[in-house]
């Protein structure tokens, strides 16, 4: 039975639980429903929750775990018949593809169910399957076919059992929910507990996902450091990956590119964003504010790839023609400056809308106090508002910084994909009109194309990613800490 139908049945049972529960509560109360502990609908919701929640939890768990269990059972079969030199995970993916292909052939009517289970592994089979739209990595061996058939059998059985168990649970929940109804049952509190569980579930999903991401990165990173010395990675000043081996994978040139571009971006975004926020919150009239604030925030809605194009075809060439070439600083239209400027523009709404909120949170009484002492508006802003809002503004800047560090598209299109050359002298390294690139861009380029997930040249991407993650995490924690401290100030 397809999952959709299982879901539908569970929900119908749940709805029945609501209606019946409510009716039962009303009838158990006699003619005066005020004698019930809770409002009648709470009894209905309680029956609904008992029906739906355990059933859906089991459904979700089954769908997550069943493929793993089936894989484990089938891979034993594959393992036994495996030929020398072939790879278990590749074979297993063939098995799965074959099983899925057979299933779809049956459901589309290209094969009858008995034909599908009666296939024999001969030389013609691969061609025949190809004709049915099933393409396989290698030829179909006896083992693969047998495993695929077993796979199909197990999967079908699992589907049936899943439907039975889930629907039985829902029905059981429904009965239990209805049985528990009597006037003194505290349905309201039971519903409250149910809602609490839902909220906790939602927050744990967010947390567990983060944890999962970190762990998977961590494992790959550990793999990388088994093959490549950590000291080289962290301290080497050369980045020259070579898929034939002998790569030099130092993070420093990339980190330098990341920090340099981010620094320029912040030098653009922080003053402009902050001044815009000050204008909007302290000087602009309501009409001006109503127009200007959304306009600035439109900038935040532009996809970064569009900023990248702007950097590539407008800002880059302009900087090269009017600054870099006349000053003799380089001939490249891809440069740190290009990416930094454009990224700075991207970050302006970030800084301005956060700072605007923070400046608005400074109580009006602070302004009154300062103006009442004969200070001008700008003196008030400089000596009272900004110092009072400073921790929050610093938090906003740090958040913008972590955005800048993680940005990829603008860098590829604006600053190019060549790592900084730290070994060719200081001027090369700090010339803002040199092409340079960042950690994120290199992560992408190490993982695109034909890659072998066992070589250090590929695995380095995870080490780079984890390093970046640690840096931005540290920045975010710092920002949150500062913002939180700031909040306490006016309590």
């Amino acid at each position: 039975m397809p999952v959709f139908w299982i879901l539908a049945i569970v929900l119908v049972l749940g709805a029945a639980g609501y209606v019946l529960g409510r009716a039962r509560a009303l009838s158990s109360a006699g003619d005066d429903y005020r004698s019930l502990h809770s409002l009648p609908s709470y009894y209905g919701w309680n029956a609904f929750i008992l029906t739906v929640v355990p059933a859906l939890l089991v459904l979700a768990a089954w769908m997550l775990i069943a493929p793993i269990v089936i894989d484990g059972m089938v891979s034993g079969l594959v393992d036994e018949g495996m030929q020398e030199g072939s790879n278990l995970s590749l074979l297993m993916s063939d098995v799965r593809r074959l099983a899925a292909g057979l299933d779809s052939a049956v459901s589309s009517g290209a094969l009858s169910a008995s034909e599908a289970s009666g296939l024999v592994a001969d030389n013609a089979l691969a061609g025949r399957l190809m004709g049915l739209g099933i393409s396989l990595g290698s030829s179909v061996t006896e083992t693969t076919l047998a495993a695929a058939q077993r796979y199909r059998g197990l999967a079908a059985a699992s589907q049936v059992w899943m439907a039975v168990v889930v629907i039985a649970l829902a029905a059981g929940g429904l009965l239990l929910g209805l049985r528990r109804i009597n006037p003194s049952f505290r349905a309201r509190n039971a519903v409250e507990t149910g809602l609490l569980a839902l909220l906790i579930l939602a927050s744990s999903i967010a947390i567990l996902t983060t944890l999962g991401i970190v762990l998977s990165m961590l494992f790959e990173t550990i793999n990388f450091f088994r093959q490549y010395p950590a000291s080289e990675f962290f301290f080497s000043t050369t980045w020259s990956p070579d898929f034939r081996g002998n790569s030099e994978l130092g993070i420093l040139p990339l980190l330098w590119g990341t920090l340099y571009i981010s620094l320029i971006a912040l030098l653009v975004a922080v003053p402009v964003g902050l001044f815009a926020a000050i204008y909007l919150s302290e000087y602009a009239g309501p009409k001006m504010r109503a127009v200007a604030k959304p306009l600035i925030e439109v900038l935040a809605g532009i996809p970064t790839i569009v900023y990248g194009l702007f950097a590539l075809i407008t800002v880059g060439p302009a900087l090269r023609d009017y600054f870099a070439q006349p000053l003799g600083l380089g001939n490249s239209s891809s440069s740190v400056m290009t990416a930094g400027l454009v990224m700075g523009i991207m970050l302006i709404p970030f800084v301005s809308s956060l700072s605007d909120d923070i400046i608005n949170a400074v109580p009006q009484s602070m302004r009154d106090g300062s103006l009442g002492l004969g200070a001008t508006p700008s003196e008030t802003i400089r000596s009272v508002i900004i110092p009072a809002a400073l921790p929050g503004i610093v938090g906003a800047v740090l958040l913008a910084a972590s955005r800048a560090i993680g940005e990829t598209m603008i860098v590829v299109l604006g600053a190019g994909a060549a790592a900084a050359r730290l070994n060719e002298g200081l001027t090369e390294a700090i010339n803002p009109f040199e092409a340079m690139t960042t950690v994120t861009v290199k992560i992408v380029s190490q993982l695109t194309g034909d890659t072998d997930f066992a070589s250090p040249e590929t695995l380095v991407a995870f080490a780079l990613g984890l390093t970046l993650f640690v840096i931005t995490l540290a920045l975010n924690v710092l920002a949150l800490y500062i913002v939180r401290k700031y909040r306490e100030q006016y309590e």
Partner: protein, 265 residues
């Protein structure tokens, strides 16, 4: 009250500090202050009393042009400070506010050190030539604010860390440090406990030696204790103005009497 020759009148009552003539205040379409005429004397404490929403704060804020900071507020009529119209185009409201200081209902120390709170005004207006002079001004102001003894050992601790009563006295010291000529106080004791209130009242009594003090208060007793002149506002009108004793003992207007005896408010 409808004398149209302000300059002559000021000559014959030479201690009038502020003279308001026909003052109207509108918030958008709301007419918040109607036709108010009042003379506030130098070296006197004047109390503004009246039910909530009758326009006491609005009128007080007209005197140092704090209403300029509210977009929808519009003021008509004249307010003269030492015979000079403060709404004249040539008058700089910023300069004016240095002459007419204000203490607000809720203590609002800046999130800076106690020292910097008090030094704020003198620094802006360049009242001190060097650090030693500034120290002296700060100490003098804190002493006048009757808070010096409590804070002299922690001048560099944050002003927001003080108790409510201390904060309000700090705000008074802060206002005093700028050496204003008039001090406006909008319900300065409403957030304070009785002991702090008594300290602030004592302070107001001393301040009148140097300044003209205008205090808005909801407490009849407080008005009676600290003020020499009382103005009763009702629905935007100045109903009655006179010596505090007269207002409390022999009110001329029915509304004043009802308010003082607790029947409206």
């Amino acid at each position: 009250m409808n004398d149209m020759r302000p300059l002559e009148r000021i000559v014959d009552t030479d201690n009038v500090k502020i003279a308001a003539k026909n003052v109207q205040v509108y918030y958008g379409d709301t007419h918040a202050i109607k036709d108010v005429d009042v003379d506030i004397l130098a070296n006197t404490v004047t109390a503004f009393i009246g039910p909530s929403g009758c326009g006491k704060s609005t009128f007080l804020r007209c005197i140092n042009r704090m209403n300029d900071t509210i977009d929808i507020a519009r003021i008509e009529g004249n307010i003269l400070l030492d015979g000079e119209d403060i709404y004249d185009k040539r008058v700089d409201p910023v300069q004016l506010r240095a002459r007419v200081g204000m203490v607000f209902q809720k203590p609002n120390p800046f999130p800076k050190s106690i020292y910097d709170n008090v030094a704020y005004g003198p620094k802006i207006h360049g009242l001190a030539r060097n650090k030693a002079e500034l120290d002296e001004i700060v100490e003098k102001a804190l002493r006048r604010g009757a808070i010096w003894d409590e804070v002299k050992d922690r001048l560099h601790a944050s002003g927001t860390g003080l108790s409510g009563g201390q904060q309000q006295r700090l705000c008074i010291a802060r206002a005093v440090a700028t050496e204003p000529e008039v001090l406006l106080m909008d319900e300065p004791c409403s957030a304070l406990d009785p002991i702090a209130t008594a300290q602030v009242e004592e302070l107001i009594d001393e301040l009148k030696e140097t300044y003209s003090v205008v205090i808005v208060t909801h407490s009849m007793q407080q008005a009676a204790r600290v003020s020499q002149k009382t103005a009763f506002f009702h629905l935007g009108n100045l109903v009655e103005y006179g010596d505090t004793g007269d207002i409390f003992n022999t009110p001329q207007d029915q509304r004043t009497e009802s308010y003082i005896t607790g029947r409206i408010g």
